[in-house]
Assembly symmetry: none
Homo-oligomer: 141 residues x 2
């Protein structure tokens, strides 16, 4: 990351030196100021794209793997409750309704109610689909 910044500084310096050198030449007065500005703009756009990609490429991958952004918008839009989300999490981890019930210290019937409500809200028919869909919607990692 620091290399990128150093390289960028060097590019800027190189530009200035180039300009200095060109002042002793004869080309500088043959072209308009706009032309030079345009060239510099295009070149440094390219530099920017390159630097931007360099800086974010490695980060992007890590972000996508480790950093999970909960989709609050969909969560509220679908009207899913906290408890239901909790059940959904355990469901996604492959637990049976009975196991979920044991973990949350509530009855199996309650889990069934929660899951049934979840399936309604997620518009799915099976728990596998619910897990799939809620992952797509970024409700669970």
């Amino acid at each position: 990351m620091k290399k990128i910044i150093i390289l960028y500084g060097l590019s800027l310096a190189a530009l200035l030196f180039l300009m200095q050198w060109l002042q002793f030449g004869f080309i500088i007065r043959d072209m308009s100021l706009e032309f030079y500005l345009g060239v510099v703009a295009v070149v440094f756009t390219a530099v920017g794209v390159w630097a931007g990609l360099r800086l974010t490429n490695s980060k992007t991958k890590i972000i996508l793997k480790t950093h999970f952004n909960f989709n609050e918008a969909e969560y509220t839009r679908l009207g899913i409750s906290k408890r239901e989300l909790e059940v959904l999490h355990l469901m996604a981890q492959g637990f049976s309704n009975q196991e979920i019930a044991d973990k949350l210290f509530i009855s199996l019937n309650t889990i069934k109610t929660h899951s049934a409500n979840l399936f309604l809200k997620l518009e799915v028919k099976r728990r596998t689909q619910a897990v799939q869909r809620s992952k797509e919607l970024m409700l669970i990692p």
Copy 2:
């Protein structure tokens, strides 16, 4: 994507118009050419970074999603058959055993056999766990 290119062109045009306008002003001669070039360079680096991220952000995600490296090592190590893998895929897509049977034109009982074998090989008890595990092992996307 096209919007980005259009916006970039507009930025360039804006720069030229700004220069044209400044020629009638008084600021242009107070500062050195190098200064302007530096400013333009920095600004267009920023534009470049922004445009670069815009252009690649969606692509990066797609690449990460579509590019899936099948873990052949685990596949052979666990001794999973082609047909079983096929069933696993459909299972992961949230299909019921009956639906999978219909898709593959084989009996429901056969699917049950395949899935039972899968659960043994994957060392899991339920289909949700099988899906989870096989995703971890990079057997399915």
